[in-house]
Symmetry: C2
Subunit: 428 residues, 2 copies
């Protein structure tokens, strides 16, 4: 890890830089696959599954029998862990339910918001060596609480045409309605446009490789909404002299193992702590199976020594990390100053993996500095707040004249007239 001591504020922009993501080069390939799926539906999806996932499929839908089989394949111990995580995620997201109140802005003018679930949502779960069944819980649990009528999940099968059993178990626990064997761009296309077997959805959630990201971006320009733009995962750890270097090192490594483009940033007021963390990183790194990936990610990563707690916080807010771990003596005070972050972990025991799996918070979070403008996935992500209003005759009297004046000044006479005909009617 690169060490930067007492940087000037002019150097912060450089420290906050992310690896550059250019997915425009993929766009041509992505567009070809998308338009093919749009035109030919299931047939195209099956062909791409054969080409990219080497799976020959007769049907895209996962059957109940396949899920039953998955239940037998997953250990009782892991199932219990999935159920515990689901309970916590459910409890935290259920507490986010919105209750609107009717507001009388003037006598006879009543306005309110109502939260209504998006009818159909699509969840994408990547395949590959590590089956992200935890992401199934994170995306499907709030969809179910919101009341989405249709919760569709696409995930690529292996060469035998099978989906990882832990993914199927998690999907059943969380209440997914339909599961399809489809990965990559073809899965995103299937959910965006609908095929003979995959329903068209209104919003697509979930992580993926660069092709999946590019496909989500593309369909979000026209067909569907998406959860958020994506980028490589990242963590920022703020540690003072009271932090536990073993814990801090483990937290940095847990982020770095995600991929070679992951980013890890340690900001500390204690040079001694930084040195201890560095030694611990070296020691723990050698014990990890994903050592090579982790090491590459650490090469892009930084340890920054700063003069004060305020500066730690200011630099973190400038970086806008996806995950922010605060291991300082006054973590509560510092938490109050967080302006830009996806999810914040306070104190020495709140490791990122607690929130990644089982504490109850969501792990689908804004990366790449998007925390400046985006929230992580939460119950709101599955709902729309629709506004309602009712006016009585008195309401028309209270605001009618102002509406006429403003519409007239905007030269929108038909707008004005819509109020005038009502004012005339009640004045009769």
């Amino acid at each position: 890890m690169n060490i930067i001591k007492y940087p000037k504020q002019e150097e912060w922009a450089e420290i906050c830089q992310r690896p550059h993501l250019d997915i425009t080069q993929l766009q041509a390939t992505v567009n070809t696959v998308l338009s093919d799926v749009r035109t030919r539906g299931d047939e195209a999806v099956k062909e791409y599954e054969e080409r990219f996932d080497h799976a020959v499929l007769t049907s895209l839908a996962v059957t109940e029998a396949e899920i039953d089989e998955a239940e037998r394949l997953v250990s009782e111990e892991l199932k219990a862990a999935i159920v515990l995580a689901h309970e916590n995620i459910h409890q935290f997201h259920a507490a986010q339910k919105f209750e609107g109140h009717k507001i009388q802005t003037r006598e006879g003018v009543t306005c309110w918001q109502k939260s209504v679930a998006i009818e159909k949502v699509g969840l994408y779960i990547p395949g590959g060596t590590a089956p992200l069944f935890s992401t199934v819980l994170m995306l499907a649990t709030p969809a179910k609480i919101a009341g989405c009528r249709e919760i569709v999940l696409c995930t690529p099968p292996n060469r035998e045409g099978k989906v990882n059993p832990a993914i199927l178990v998690a999907a059943r626990v969380a209440g997914v309605s339909k599961i399809f064997k489809a990965g990559g761009v073809q899965a995103i296309g299937a959910m965006a446009y609908g095929t003979q077997s995959v329903p068209k959805v209104f919003k697509i959630f979930g992580p993926g490789n660069q092709y999946v990201m590019a496909a989500k971006q593309q369909v979000s320009l026209g067909e569907v909404a998406i959860d958020m733009p994506a980028g490589p995962s990242e963590v920022c750890v703020l540690a003072d002299e009271t932090a536990n270097p073993t814990f801090v090192a483990a937290d940095l490594l847990s982020q770095a193992e995600h991929g070679i483009d992951s980013q890890v940033l340690l900001i500390s007021t204690s040079e001694d702590m930084m040195q201890q963390v560095q030694a611990e990183v070296e020691r723990q790194l050698n014990l990890l199976p994903r050592k090579e990936i982790t090491q590459k990610a650490l090469e892009n990563s930084r340890m920054v020594l700063v003069a004060s707690a305020d500066e730690m916080m200011a630099l973190s807010n400038a970086y806008a990390p996806e995950h922010l771990i605060i291991q300082t003596k006054n973590y509560d005070e510092m938490a109050a100053q967080v302006v830009n972050a996806g999810s914040v972990f306070l104190g020495q025991y709140a490791c990122e993996s607690a929130g990644d799996y089982a504490s109850g918070t969501n792990h689908t979070l804004p990366t790449h500095g998007y925390a400046t403008a985006y929230s992580g996935v939460n119950l709101d992500s599955y709902c729309r707040k629709i506004t309602f209003q009712h006016l009585s005759e008195e309401g028309v009297r209270q605001i009618g004249h102002a509406v006429e004046l403003m519409a007239g000044a905007e030269q929108l006479d038909a707008h004005k007239n819509a109020m005038s005909v009502r004012l005339n009617a009640i004045e009769k």
Copy 2:
């Protein structure tokens, strides 16, 4: 208006069709302007202002003196209307403040959400013949309530280099921090990248022509968030035999006058009502200054006769209108069945222009069927919900083992280890 009687459900997709929007052809022009603004900043913005708005500017910033002058130019009557509208918008959006609660998902595992304002937001207000000062109130009022530190507004000047005075007055009333004379693509670029005088923002709000839409879409792929994808404005009116045909006709016309691509849909269970509305539309149309535009929009518009109130509601939900007006005897029951809409107006007195200007609800709403997945602008649009968590030793005991198991099953050993080092520490 085209009349369709008792359509079969297979014909609904055709009825719900919007005019096709293809802005890809504009993309090359848009990208040229954006990259020029990114490179050359203020100088480029000034050159494009001269070329497109025929305004020669020495400085982009609107001065306090110019706002003072605007205050003198706007009538006291209009100012009072702006203040009344602002009060109502303020009251309705202030009531949307989020209060998070700490949730203990397990003993020692505490999670919560905190709503934090986006630090810097940019508002775009189009110029042209009709100065949309009402949109200034709609976009700046919630930004101020949210606590955005910097509220930047860009709007094109006229040939004399002046901004419409009502826009400046509304901006001062609503609490905009900085106003710049810049329109079109160059304004979007200035706010997305920042220039010498215009601050870079994290999210851009506001309507605009096709170039502005294309520019917002483009910068949203990398630099900033945007409020929502945009399309032509639209209304759907549900009217049974108890509706007032004069009011219904006025409401249809008020939407149609926006532009030739505006869409208007009347769904009714009463053929008699439809005929009366049609006669009223003809009569009122002849009195409107924007008759030609309005007439063109009506040519793309439809009146649909259906068999029941349930069918009215179902067709409306399939259409997913930006504005939905329900003028039926049982409007409260029908309101409960709204699934897809931006903003809903209930009963005969709640005309769309009430909400467009002064009732308190926001008028920046999802068009083009995006109401299936997007909310209109509301207080949330200016905030992020950041999650926080704290674990005690007991918290680690409660969920630690589940985290280890799940991380292990996902083959993320460093994630597992981050929990293991803590479990080991507390077991000592």
